[in-house]
C-alpha cells in the first residue's frame, strides 16, 4: 500500500507517477524465465536471487536464456562471498581462509556454511549453498571457469582487505586503495560479466581488449554506492571514503558530519563525485559494445541509476544526514529510457551531466574539474551521436579560399546597401511617429489642453499629477489669477 506521504508526493509530481505507470504498463521483458522447464534446485536458486537482490533480480531474470542461469549463479556465488565478508561476527582467523577457499566449494554439492551470525540477512543462502553447487555443475564448462576464476580473485581481494586491520580501523587511505577496493568488489564483476557476454557471443569481443572499459563500469557503480551510503556506513563504522580525499577538508572523518562543517563536507563529496564522474564516458563506450537487447538492459539500467544517484548526492547536504535515494518515479523513468538503445542512455547521461553542471558551485575547489568532467561526457556523446541543428555547419559545406576577393567586395556592398535600407526604414518610422505625435498634441491643444500648466509644474519638479481632487482647479486658477493681476 502506498503511504499518505507517497500519495501527496506523486500528486505534485505527476510526471513521475506517469513514469511509474508507463513502466508497469508498457515494459515487455525481452526474454522471460520459463519456470516449467526449471527443476526444484534451480527454482530455489531464483528464490535466493529474489531474496538477496533488490536491484539485480529483475534484470537478471529477463536475460537471454543462454546467460540466464550462469549470471544468476555468478551473482549468488558473489553474494555468498559478500555475506561472509560483511559478517562482523566471524573471526578474522576463520574468515580469511573461508574467503580464500570459497571458489573451491562451487563444484562441491555437499558444501554449505552455517557459521553466519543469526542477524545476517542472507545467511540462508550459505546454509543451503549446495543447491547453487548442483546447478553450477550443470552449466557449460566455459562459464564455470569464468565464474570460479572471478570468485577466487574476489575472495582473495576481500581476504586481503579484511586482514588489513589497519584499514578496518581507520578506513581506506589513498585514492589508489579506494579504487583497488572497488576493483575487487565491482571491477572484477564487470570483468566476469564481460567474459560471459563475449563467451555467449552477445557482446563485441573487442571489449576484452579494452579492460579499462569494464573496470569503469564496476567502478562507477561501486563508487556511487560508496558516496551515497556515507551516512549509513559511518553509523556502521565502515569507512570507504579515502583519507587522501577527506583529510583535505577535515582533520577527523567524524567532523564531516558536523553541521558547522557543511561547506567542507560538500567540497569533500564533490571531489568524490568528480572521481566517479570521470568514469562515465568509458561506461558509455562499453555499452556501445553490447550486441543483445537483454544484455544491454542489464548493463544500462544500473549505470543510468548511478548517474542519477551521483546527481542526487552532488551538492546535497542531506547526504551526510540520512540515507538518500532517487525516487521511484525517477527510477521507472530511467528504466524505460535504459531499455531501448544507446542513444537514449546517452541522453540520460547528458541530462544528468548538465544537472550536475548547473548545481556546480564556483566556490568549490573542484568547480572547473567537475565542469570539465561533464564536458568530457558531452564530448564523448557528440563523437557517437553528433548534434544536428541548423547551428551546425551542414555536412556538404565546402572549403573556400579565405580571401579579400571581388566577390567579397560585392557581398560587402550588398551588406552596406542592406544597412542603408535599415537606416531609411528607421527614418521613415521616426518621421511617421513624429507626425502622429504632432497631430495628437495639436488636437489636444486645440481642445484646450493646458500644456503651459503641465510644463510649469514639471519645472517645479512635480512629476506626478496631483491626486487630491480640486487641486488641479486651484493650480489653474492660481496661474490665471497671476495673469489677471498683471493686467
Amino acid at each position: 500500500m502506498p503511504s499518505a506521504a507517497d500519495v501527496a508526493y506523486y500528486l505534485f509530481h505527476i510526471s513521475e507517477l506517469r513514469a511509474i505507470i508507463q513502466w508497469k504498463t508498457w515494459h515487455n521483458p525481452v526474454h522471460e524465465r520459463d519456470e516449467s522447464k526449471e527443476g526444484p534446485d534451480l527454482k530455489e536458486c531464483f528464490r535466493f536471487l529474489n531474496l538477496t537482490s533488490r536491484s539485480f533480480a529483475a534484470v537478471i531474470q529477463e536475460l537471454h536464456p543462454e546467460l540466464l542461469v550462469p549470471v544468476c549463479l555468478f551473482y549468488l556465488c558473489l553474494r555468498g562471498l559478500d555475506t561472509i565478508e560483511d559478517d562482523m561476527t566471524i573471526d578474522i582467523a576463520q574468515k580469511e581462509p573461508l574467503l580464500r577457499q570459497f571458489h573451491e566449494h562451487l563444484e562441491d554439492e555437499t558444501w554449505n556454511f552455517d557459521g553466519n551470525g543469526p542477524n545476517e540477512k542472507d545467511r540462508e543462502l550459505l546454509v543451503k549453498f549446495e543447491v547453487v553447487a548442483k546447478e553450477f555443475n550443470k552449466v557449460k564448462e566455459e562459464y564455470r571457469v569464468i565464474i570460479a576464476d572471478i570468485t577466487k580473485r574476489m575472495g582473495n581481494g576481500m581476504a586481503d582487505y579484511a586482514k588489513n586491520a589497519d584499514q578496518n580501523a581507520n578506513g581506506v587511505k589513498t585514492i589508489k586503495d579506494y579504487e583497488l577496493y572497488c576493483h575487487y568488489v565491482a571491477g572484477l564483476v564487470g570483468e566476469g560479466l564481460t567474459r560471459l557476454f563475449v563467451e555467449a557471443k552477445l557482446a563485441n569481443p573487442a571489449l576484452l581488449q579494452r579492460p579499462e572499459l569494464m573496470e569503469s563500469m564496476g567502478q562507477l557503480l561501486q563508487q556511487t554506492n560508496i558516496i551515497r551510503d556515507i551516512r549509513e556506513d559511518h553509523d556502521d563504522k565502515r569507512y570507504f571514503w579515502p583519507k587522501e580525499v577527506w583529510s583535505k577538508y577535515v582533520n577527523k572523518f567524524d567532523e564531516l558530519f558536523l553541521p558547522e562543517n557543511q561547506e567542507k563536507a560538500l567540497q569533500c563529496s564533490s571531489e568524490m563525485v568528480l572521481i566517479a564522474l570521470n568514469r562515465a564516458d568509458e561506461c558509455l563506450f562499453y555499452m556501445a559494445g553490447i550486441k543483445e537487447q537483454s544484455v544491454f538492459n542489464f548493463v544500462a539500467i544500473p549505470q543510468s541509476m548511478a548517474m542519477a544517484t551521483l546527481e542526487l548526492c552532488f551538492q546535497n547536504p542531506t547526504l551526510f544526514e540520512r540515507n538518500i535515494k532517487i525516487t521511484k518515479g525517477t527510477a521507472c523513468q530511467l528504466m524505460t529510457e535504459s531499455t531501448q538503445n544507446l542513444q537514449l542512455v546517452c541522453d540520460v547521461f547528458r541530462r544528468y551531466a548538465r544537472k550536475i553542471h548547473r548545481k556546480n558551485n564556483p566556490s568549490d575547489p573542484h568547480f572547473l574539474d567537475i565542469s570539465i568532467a561533464c564536458g568530457k561526457i558531452e564530448r564523448f556523446i557528440e563523437g557517437i551521436f553528433p548534434t544536428q541543428t541548423p547551428r551546425v555547419l551542414p555536412p556538404g559545406a565546402e572549403q573556400t579560399v579565405a580571401q579579400d576577393s571581388e566577390e567579397e567586395a560585392k557581398r560587402k556592398a550588398d551588406q552596406a546597401e542592406a544597412k542603408q535600407d535599415v537606416l531609411y526604414i528607421g527614418i521613415a518610422i521616426a518621421v511617421t511617429l513624429a507626425i502622429i505625435s504632432a497631430v495628437m498634441i495639436g488636437a489636444a491643444w486645440f481642445f484646450g489642453a493646458r500644456f503651459d500648466l503641465a510644463f510649469a509644474e514639471l519645472k517645479k519638479g512635480n512629476l506626478k499629477p496631483p491626486k487630491e481632487s480640486g487641486v488641479l482647479e486651484n493650480i489653474a486658477s492660481a496661474y490665471d489669477a497671476q495673469g489677471h493681476n498683471e493686467l
Binding site: I372, C374, G375, L393, A402, D404
Partner: protein
C-alpha cells in the same frame, strides 16, 4: 615531452619572439636544445635573460618587406617559426571597420607573406606557422562540436580569423610545396597563461563592471581553451618534427587543452580566483541579449565609449566550439601536460601579481 634522440644543431628564427607565445617558445627551445641557435625577430627586443642565452635579436617589422628582406640577408635559419601577428582585442574583435581590417590584414596576412617569401629567398625550406582555431570558428554563425582538420575553413567573417585563414592557406599552398617548402600550421584556441594580459583581464574586468550576474543563453555551451605551456609543447614538437621526419609537412593541426568546458563556468572559475562568486546568475535568452547588444552598439555608436556587450560577443558567448586533437596526437605526439584548472590558477595568480605591481606603480606616481 619525451626527449628526442639527439638532433643535429639547428638555427631557428622565431618571428614575434618577444610576444606572449613567441617568447615562451624561444625559452622552451633554448631549454630543450642548448646547442641550437635561436634568432628572435620582433619589433621589440626580447627580455634580458633570453638575450643572455644562445640567442640573438633582429629588429624588423613583418609588415615591411624591405625590413624583413634586410633581416634575412644576414641570416640563414634552418627553420622559421612564424608567430608574429596581431589579435584584435575587445571591441576590435567584432569590428567591421575597413581601416581596422586593413591593419589586421597587413600584419597577419601580408606579414606572413613577407616572412615566407624572404625565408624562401634566403634558402630556408622549413616553416612552422602559428595559425588559429578562429580560421574555422570566426564565422560566428555556427556551433563547432569536435571540429577537426577536415572541417572546412574560409567562412570566417571576423578580421582575425579571416586574416589568419588567408595566411594559413598561403603558407600551406601547393605552389610553395612544389618549390620544396615544408610547412605546417598549428591552430591553437584561446591561449591563457602567466604574462597574458588580454584574456584574463577582459574577464576580470567584468567583476568591477558588475557584469558577472548574467549568463547569456542556456549556459550549456562548451568552449576550448589552451594553457600556454601546452601550446608551447605543440610548437616545439612541430618544430622538431619538421627538422627530422617532416611528417607534419603540408598539414594543419588543431591544438587545445582537450578539456572543453562550459563557457560560463570558465568565467565563474576565473572570477572565483579573485574571490568573487556572484550571489546569483540570471540566464538571459539569446534573443534578448542580441537586442541588448544591438542597443548597446547603437549607444556606443553615438557616445564612442567601449561596451562589453555587442551582437558579436553575444554570438561568441552562446555558441559551442571545441576541437578534436587526434591529428596532433598522432602526427606530432602532442599531449597537454598542464590541466586547464591548474592553468587558470597559475594565470590568475600571475595576473594578481601584475595588478599589485600596477597598483604600486600608480601609488608611487601619485606620491
Amino acid at each position: 615531452m619525451i626527449a628526442l634522440p639527439s638532433m643535429p644543431p639547428a638555427h631557428v628564427l622565431v618571428t614575434g619572439g618577444s610576444g606572449f607565445l613567441g617568447a615562451a617558445i624561444v625559452k622552451a627551445l633554448l631549454d630543450r636544445h642548448p646547442d641550437w641557435t635561436i634568432t628572435v625577430l620582433d619589433i621589440h627586443a626580447p627580455s634580458e635573460d633570453i638575450l643572455r642565452r644562445n640567442s640573438s635579436f633582429v629588429e624588423a617589422d613583418v609588415t615591411s618587406s624591405s625590413s624583413i628582406n634586410a633581416a634575412f640577408s644576414k641570416i640563414q635559419p634552418d627553420l622559421v617559426m612564424h608567430c608574429a601577428g596581431i589579435v584584435p582585442a575587445r571591441r576590435h574583435r567584432y569590428s567591421t571597420n575597413q581601416k581596422q581590417w586593413e591593419k589586421v590584414k597587413t600584419i597577419n596576412y601580408q606579414g606572413t607573406k613577407n616572412v615566407l617569401n624572404a625565408a624562401l629567398a634566403s634558402g630556408c625550406r622549413k616553416f612552422v606557422y602559428t595559425s588559429s582555431c578562429t580560421v574555422v570558428i570566426d564565422d560566428l554563425a555556427h556551433d563547432y562540436f569536435n571540429m577537426n582538420e577536415k572541417t572546412p575553413l574560409g567562412h570566417a567573417t571576423l578580421h582575425y580569423g579571416k586574416s589568419k585563414g588567408m595566411a594559413e592557406q598561403y603558407v600551406l599552398s601547393h605552389e610553395h610545396a612544389e618549390k620544396g617548402l615544408q610547412a605546417c600550421a598549428l591552430r591553437p584556441c584561446t591561449i591563457i597563461g602567466p604574462g597574458d594580459t588580454a584574456v584574463i583581464s577582459l574577464i576580470h574586468d567584468l567583476i568591477a563592471k558588475g557584469e558577472t550576474y548574467f549568463i547569456i543563453g542556456d549556459g550549456d555551451n562548451l568552449y576550448d581553451f589552451i594553457y600556454i605551456d601546452n601550446a608551447v609543447v605543440a610548437h616545439v614538437l612541430a618544430i622538431e618534427n619538421m627538422l627530422t621526419t617532416a611528417t607534419a609537412a603540408g598539414e594543419a593541426f588543431f591544438i587545445s587543452n582537450e578539456e572543453p568546458v562550459y563557457f560560463w563556468d570558465f568565467f565563474a572559475y576565473l572570477w572565483a580566483q579573485f574571490g568573487h562568486v556572484p550571489r546569483f546568475r540570471v540566464k538571459i535568452p539569446m534573443a534578448v541579449a542580441w537586442v541588448a547588444g544591438l542597443a548597446a552598439e547603437v549607444v556606443t555608436y553615438f557616445t564612442g565609449a567601449a561596451a562589453t556587450v555587442d551582437r558579436g560577443s553575444v554570438w561568441d558567448a552562446v555558441r559551442t566550439q571545441y576541437s578534436d586533437n587526434s591529428k596532433a596526437r598522432d602526427i606530432l605526439g602532442y599531449r597537454p601536460k598542464i590541466g586547464l584548472a591548474e592553468g587558470v590558477r597559475r594565470s590568475c595568480a600571475d595576473y594578481k601579481d601584475y595588478l599589485a605591481r600596477q597598483a604600486n606603480v600608480d601609488s608611487n606616481e601619485t606620491a
